[in-house]
């Protein structure tokens, strides 16, 4: 995409959402809540990690899907449905098919090595070691790992085709394009997300199964649709700028009522009332935080900036490769006697440094970069706002 017509704030938000994913995955090793479930769980950790990391979790993938929906609408507008399919197959489906096997094999190999050699394994590694002893090895689990978002992106692309083919009423589309919702709509809109979140555990898990999960289709699909609508109607959020600040404050207040923040864990499985309450708290807090990010991004990040542009270009590659790198660093750190904070900073920093360096040297100026990001990266035209696009 030519830099003169780039939608900078969306590019930058996508980059930040993906980089936040690296920080989030690194933080899970020091999360007391996931101590028994995460393979690189360290003996050290803090409840503060749970409070911060899971807050990030509430809006980083929703934000990513809003951005994905926005760019899908942009692609349909510029290249039509056939162009959308060509681009998505090349830049989403093929990376998923090509990268999933090495990602799964490397994660499996790292876990097998950790099970065999670590002196201070995590609780999950201990369980896996027991399993390996009784079952003659560890099976390779056929999951989508952290690349699940690519599968859902393809699924939503198919649904965009299905909905476009069914030709929604022109009056409905015109009404959507002209709609300027005010704060009460934003205040109650998250209610549509509650049933989806009530159908899964809290905090919502990554839908890594190769089969699509209904709750994830509904939940992320709603955010994808919001992004799509945002492209059709760039003024959609115009009347929400002021109330957004209040909504973010309200989101943080609701987030503070979630069990992992209050320190009041639920029964497993939780009672139905508690399940619905947690779903509602997550839905409202996550939606309002995502809305806040969109409005803040449009206000503060809508300029061409060479550093941010480089980061935006690098973010996709970084996200694709970060998890095996992170595990390769965090497994040996389990045996190292350092404060958890130091390990967290070290593993996050090194993962980012290695993946960003590999992007610069192996990807950016090679066919891999052209494959993942499209055209060869060019010079950015100074610090200009992205007003070149109509409605932006």
């Amino acid at each position: 995409m030519n830099s003169a017509v780039r939608v900078h704030y969306m590019d930058h938000l996508r980059a930040l959402a993906m980089l936040a994913g690296v920080v989030f995955h690194a933080a899970l090793a020091y999360s007391p809540m996931l101590h028994g479930l995460w393979p690189t769980a360290d003996a050290g950790g803090s409840a503060a990690i749970d409070v911060v990391a899971w807050a990030l979790h509430l809006f980083r993938m929703p934000l990513f899907f809003v951005v994905a929906g926005f760019f899908t609408a942009l692609l349909v507008e510029r290249r039509g449905l056939a162009g959308l399919f060509r681009t998505r197959v090349l830049r989403v489906l093929l990376p998923l098919i090509v990268l999933l096997p090495p990602v799964l094999l490397s994660l499996h190999a790292l876990t097998v090595a950790a099970v065999t050699h670590l002196r201070h394994p995590s609780p999950l590694l201990v369980l896996l070691a027991d399993y390996a002893r009784t079952h003659d090895g560890l099976p390779l689990m056929p999951t989508l790992a952290h690349l699940w978002f690519l599968a859902y992106l393809m699924l939503f692309t198919l649904l965009v085709w299905a909905i476009s083919t069914l030709e929604p009423s022109p009056r409905l589309v015109a009404a959507l394009r002209a709609w300027r919702p005010s704060w009460p709509v934003a205040a109650i809109a998250p209610i549509v997300l509650v049933p989806a979140l009530a159908a899964t555990s809290a905090p919502w898990p990554a839908p890594e199964s190769p089969l699509p999960q209904l709750w994830a289709i509904a939940f992320f699909g709603a955010y994808f649709a919001l992004g799509y609508a945002l492209r059709l109607n760039p003024a959609l959020l115009d009347r929400l700028r002021r109330p957004a600040q209040l909504l973010v404050v309200a989101a943080l207040a609701l987030y503070a009522a979630l069990p992992w923040v209050l320190g009041t864990p639920r029964m497993i499985p939780p009672e139905p009332a508690m399940r619905w309450l947690d779903a509602a708290l997550q839905a409202f807090a996550g939606f309002w935080l995502t809305l806040g990010c969109l409005i803040a991004g449009r206000a503060w990040l809508d300029t061409a900036n060479p550093a941010m542009r480089w980061l935006a270009d690098a973010a996709y590659w970084v996200y694709l490769v970060h998890l095996p790198l992170l595990f390769a660093l965090q497994y040996p750190l389990l045996d190292v006697a350092l404060p958890w904070g130091v390990k967290f900073v070290l593993s996050t920093g090194l993962t980012l440094a290695l993946s960003l360096a590999s992007y610069q040297w192996l990807v950016r100026h090679t066919w891999i970069g052209r494959w993942l990001n499209g055209t060869r990266p060019g010079k950015v035209a100074g610090r200009t706002r992205s007003a070149a696009l109509p409605g932006n």
Binding site: M141, L155, L159, L166, P210, L211, P212, Q213
Partner: protein
């Protein structure tokens, strides 16, 4: 007698034409398939997954009959033949166009459903040995579709077509029941290994041979036609 089209590009255009004409129905089916796969993958109570599986099978059967009904039988009712006669296409071009367009349109949901079921088995505690039975059942559904399609191309009688289509549909359930109990298949269904025994391979070969024979016979019958009428 020429069994093949006179112009492959024309056949390609005819396939694209049918794809465009029927993509609305396909879009609806696709949405239904996503919903069904989502129900199966939801990890909820068994009846939710069961409802998803049932929806998948119903969708497959419905897609097949709707495709044949709209692309062949309804077009005939609408008297499209006189118009086709005015175009620079041979009867075999139209034949291959119809056959391949229907197959392409049907294979999209069929592969989605088959792939989804296999993914379900591989990623859940369900015994992997079931995959053989699933493959044989899905290929049988494809076989019934091909037979219905070939019959609809060869025979213009709407009554006979409805009879054949319904008759073949009723065989799907008994086939799945009988094959699931065949010696050489039944003993591996609950196992963790995917075992292609000679029995399973023979059933698969019979299905594929039936499809091939149906297409060849219909091609020969159609190739005898000197004109569209």
């Amino acid at each position: 007698m020429n069994l093949f089209p006179s112009d492959v590009r024309i056949v390609g255009r005819l396939i694209a034409k049918d794809w465009q004409v029927y993509q609305k129905q396909l879009a609806g089916f696709l949405a239904g398939i996503v919903l069904a796969l989502g129900l199966i993958g939801s990890g909820g109570p068994w009846w939710v997954a069961g409802a998803g599986a049932m929806l998948l099978i119903v969708l497959l059967v419905v897609v097949g009959s709707v495709t044949i009904q709209t692309s062949l039988l309804t077009e005939r009712k609408q008297q499209t033949v006189p118009f086709i006669m005015s175009l620079p296409v041979s009867p075999m071009d139209v034949y291959w166009g119809k056959l391949l367009a229907n197959l392409v349109i049907y294979l999209v949901p069929l592969l989605l459903v088959g792939g989804g079921m296999i993914a379900l088995i591989l990623t859940t505690p369900i015994a992997d040995g079931l995959i053989v039975w699933i493959v044989l059942s899905v290929v049988f559904v494809l076989t019934t579709f091909c037979l219905s399609l070939c019959f609809a191309i060869a025979c213009e009688s709407e009554g006979w077509n409805a009879f054949v289509m319904l008759g073949l549909m009723t065989l799907i359930g008994p086939f799945m029941f009988v094959v699931g109990r065949l010696e050489g298949i039944v003993e591996h269904v609950r196992g963790e290994q995917v075992v292609w025994t000679p029995t399973a391979l023979a059933v698969l070969a019979a299905e594929l041979a039936t499809i091939a024979i149906a297409i060849v016979v219909t091609s020969v019958l159609y190739a005898r036609k000197r004109s569209f009428l």
